[in-house]
Amino acid sequence: MSRRRFPWDRLGIDATSDTGVIRRAYADALRATNVDEDIAGYAELRRARDEALWFAAQAQRDGEGDSEDDLGLGSLGEDEAAPDDDWLHDEDDGEWEDLPPSSYHDAPLAPAAPDRTRSEAQAKAEAAWQRLLATLYPDGEASEAVMTFAEMEEGLEALAILTARAEEADLAEHDAIDGALADLFSRTWPRSAPFVEPAAESFRWLEESGSIEERWALRFLNQRLKGMRFHEKVQQPDHPLHKAWAELSRTGPASFADRIRVKRVDVLKLLDGIRERYPELESHLDPQRVASWDNGRTAPGDPGIVPRIIRGLFIVLLVVGLPRLIGSWYEPGGEASSPPIMAPDSEGPSEAELDAAVAEIFGPGVGMKTVEAEDAAFARELRAAIARPEIARPLDLARMKALASAEVARRPTLEARTELKAMWLTAARARPDDTCRKLMDGNLRGLTLDLSKADRAREQVLLRELLVAKVLGHMPKGGEVRYAIPGWLVADTLRRSGLPEKRLVPAFQQTDHPDRCTAEAALVQAVRAGLAKVPDEVLRGL
């Protein structure tokens, strides 16, 4: 009997794309397991089942019509080539415009609507979406101008139609409208300010506030919303900080009398508070007056972090490519003819061969035993890769897993990963071919990176760090990652990339943009320069 590899060995079946067989095997294995006593075994069994179902779905998608046993893996390589061609084709696709999708169903956050038939009510809602867009993008362009009263009325009316539609619609459409509006308003802030409150009430946005899963757009909007509420309240005479607010709103520097009249501690509390939470509110205050209070601070302030509202304080990044990562090292090389998972294993590599391969990745002195002791899950995958290097070179596997580790890693491991990525990007960009692009997609299989001797040694050190942090064995969940880039980082990235803002933003948001590599490399440099200040989520997203 041939030796099988994970997940099939755990399920006790041969590789198959028949989900019925997989489920049956899982059910039998589950019945034979006492889950309460063998928690790790149960977790592994679930993982095996999920992976097997994933392979099966993949095979079905890629190899429609192929024989069941083939799993469609043989043809995967060729299929992959086709979209790549399209991808290159798109490169000179003209100017990118800062415009959201023309239909709320096409909004990036919204799930795809499977059927495109529209009812009358849907058509009306779509028309309202267009009207709302028109008020937020006058003349079809992003605008910083304050909205006129007429525009506001028009927008509110359109919004009312959309929220009413959402109330009536099924869950999928409700979710689509919810997501599209949140996305739109966060992009067009502050012009969208008058619309946030009614939308937040209708979609209960504040309920999500503070949750660990709060959507990015809402994290931004909810904070602004709280700012608006604070702004309203602080203008009431009975608010404890009202006096301080009134003082800071006066024009001209504060006089000696002002300093006696208003409690200094209140003024500074207010200033620090809004700077931390609602930086946009500072624009309501008189800059001269604020400066005179700021200058009076005895304690050394941190002048470097006085936030300014600049356009592009945040931009949304969409990182894609992770979903492919999960299976990508099981893809055969272009010339491989037999599906690798089915192939019977020969003897398998000797201990010495294993250790040599491991040492190549993690540096001299590290052997398979060490890897096993540190991270058993990764060790198993690595063993498989060493046995069949034609499927995935062990080093490629380690590199891909290092990239994928962002989902679970924490600082300082995240920082080590960032350094690795910076190193690889530099090397990839030095090559004339599409290496960089592949790297950005998270697919390192078969990539050549010409690292210097010193870089290789550094890479080994960093990979060791990741190994010890036990993040290499993580099975990536995949999916898109969105994150906000703080304004100072955007500014630095702009400077380093030499790209105009108009080109930089789309380069981040479109996976097929020609400037993507340049932009990402500049961002990674900027991140590394200001590493301590960079939020975890940016390190994760990179």
């Binding site: 059910a27 019945r31 928690i39 790790a40 977790a43 619609a169 099924d170 869950l171 209960r204």
Partner: protein
């Protein structure tokens, strides 16, 4: 013997696995549902179930209902001078269910599977378990209500089922679970919910809607708790009437005056809109967590009495773009499912192939502190270790490191919830471990969370540098205390004199007659009063035949008056 119990906010039920099928056990009044209500009179006389609920209108201060909503909190109620915890009250209901099983089978049940809302947190689960122990059960397992309902739904034909959604809106809690069945495996994919949303909230909305229409002069004369009890009872009746009609009468009798207002279905629907909106979030969250498209759900299964409301059904039809499946009995499914789980645990025939796998409904993690770029400390940041909707049992480890130079110990506060700020989550316990004094960040500490199928969390903390380990079974501390508590609670409850089960019918009839007496005015009231006196006289004679006769006569009269009543 192992039984399955649905300990509900409004009603409870008990079932057992017999002859290859789950069977409900009727109570002394022959009904499958026992109201979760307890009433105590001075001197310790105690009523549980139907009779207690009937005393609600007459003795609101001595009667407790909906105590499931308080379980897991420190609040208590004092009924006729006896202070009782929500666990005590639940235990009394559980004990009366045990009596019913004993009467039906001749055997006292020793073990129980008790259902809890999927979205019950750790504390609420622990309190429920304790209630079972006070009632004298060994609680073999707590299972989630929608999971139990899914079992009852799915095991009807044992066929494979694509993922379906269980929508469980009970008297006080709301759960959504997405469940799949294949090859005898019942797999819960995700659960979400709101443990403070249920039929009771719809009653409150109705009261708020109607109150301004009633004669304020009469209402204001009533003591606050009686006013609340009367209005709530009337609201529940009106809400039931509205399931079948476009309009219903809201009727309260107080101080001999009859207050009436008409409520239309439309007005009720409008007033309930904010509650209906709250139904949507958990559904979306559950679907998102298991990456299932709403269109691929094979069924929307309704459970819980509150799903009978047309306003809820309408909202569901809109949300899912199709009609929900109302084939399971909304009040029985959970108890039947609990009995199936009981059968599974005791190796019941016909269940050999069945396995259930469930998920942890909440994220579990520890509170951490970090230093930001400006050197400021940010404390109480939630670091998840087990993400919500992970399959249980599960064991996960995370590594943390020291934050200050020469730090001597690390304290881990353990939390459950979804908020970034731990203060908004439920704190489950705390664990401190000594660490060798070294520069900040150099000492790492491993924290392992293990969460088992009954929802018990076990925390292991170890410091690799010194080999020190600490372990905390989250229930430890509370359990030690609660073992005493259980004994004390039992003693306290023993002082209360619950009517012997064979008197239950008389007790219930008496309470019902008293409620009817309060509920009518004029001539009808007089007639009921006379019948009541007659019945009391019959009881004193202690002749079973005379009592039975008088009871039947009284029942006929009450049936008649009820039929004439607009209630």
């Amino acid at each position: 013997m192992l039984v399955g119990i649905d300990l509900g906010t409004t009603n409870s039920a008990v079932a057992l696995w017999r002859d290859g099928a789950p069977q409900l056990v009727p109570n002394a009044l022959g009904k499958a549902l026992t109201p979760s209500a307890v009433s105590v009179a001075k001197g310790g006389q105690t009523w549980v179930g139907e009779a207690a609920l009937d005393r609600m209108a007459t003795h609101p201060r001595d009667t407790a209902t909906s105590f499931k909503r308080m379980i897991g909190t420190a609040s208590t109620v004092t009924l006729a001078g006896t202070t009782l915890t929500p666990e005590d009250l639940s235990a009394m209901v559980l004990r009366s269910l045990a009596d019913d099983v004993e009467a039906a089978t001749g055997e006292r049940p020793t073990g129980a599977v008790i259902t809890v809302p999927a979205y019950f947190n750790e504390r609420q689960r622990r309190a429920t378990r304790r209630a079972g122990e006070i009632a004298g059960f060994e609680v073999k397992r707590l299972i989630n209500e929608p999971t139990a309902a899914a079992l009852a739904f799915g095991l009807a034909d044992k066929g494979d089922r694509e993922p379906f959604l269980v929508f469980d809106l009970g008297g006080g809690t709301f759960d959504v679970s997405i469940v799949e069945m294949f090859e005898g495996i019942v797999e819960v994919r995700a659960s979400a919910g709101d443990n403070r949303l249920g039929g009771d909230d719809f009653d409150a909305v109705l009261v708020k809607l109607v109150e301004p229409l009633l004669d304020a002069a009469v209402l204001d004369r009533l003591p606050a708790d009686q006013r609340h009890a009367l209005l709530t009872l009337a609201a529940e009746r009106t809400r039931r009437a509205l399931t079948a009609a476009e309009a219903a009468e809201f009727r309260v009798v107080a101080e001999g005056a009859e207050l009436i207002a008409e409520v239309t279905a439309e007005a009720f629907e409008e007033a309930a809109a904010p509650l209906i909106k709250r139904l949507r979030d958990p559904v979306i969250r559950a679907l998102r967590d298991c990456h299932i498209d709403v269109k691929t759900l094979s069924d929307i299964v309704l459970v819980g009495g509150a799903t009978r409301m047309p306003v809820v059904r309408k909202a569901l039809t809109r949300m899912f773009g199709r009609f929900p499946n109302a084939t399971v009995h909304p009040d029985h499914a959970v108890a039947l499912g609990a009995a199936i789980q009981a059968g599974l645990l005791s190796g019941g025939e016909g269940l050999e192939e069945i396995r259930i796998t469930d998920v942890a409904p909440f994220t579990l993690g520890v509170g951490t502190a970090t230093r930001d770029a400006h050197g400021r400390f940010h404390e109480d940041i939630f670091a998840p270790i087990i993400e919500r909707n992970s399959p249980v049992p599960i064991s996960r480890m995370e590594q943390f490191c020291t934050l200050a130079d020469n730090q001597k110990q690390v304290t881990f506060a353990i939390y459950q919830g979804e908020a970034r700020d731990v203060k908004k989550n439920v704190k489950l316990g705390e664990l401190t471990v000594p660490v060798p004094p070294r520069p900040a960040g150099e000492v790492s500490v491993d924290v392992r969370f293990t969460y088992d199928t009954s929802g018990l969390l076990d925390v292991d903390v170890s410091v690799p540098a010194t080999g020190t380990t600490r372990n905390l079974v989250i229930v430890d501390e509370e359990d030690r205390r609660s073992q005493q508590d259980v004994a004390e609670s039992r003693k306290r409850l023993e002082k209360l004199k619950v009517h012997p089960r064979d008197e239950a019918e008389n007790v219930a009839m008496m309470a019902r007659a008293e409620r009817a007496y309060e509920g009518f005015t004029g001539h009808v009231r007089e007639v009921i009063g006379m019948a009541l006196t007659e019945f009391k006289g019959a009881l004193e004679k202690q002749d079973p035949r005379i009592i039975a006769e008088a009871r039947e006569g009284l029942a006929r009269l009450l049936d008649e008056t009820d039929a004439h009543s607009p209630l």
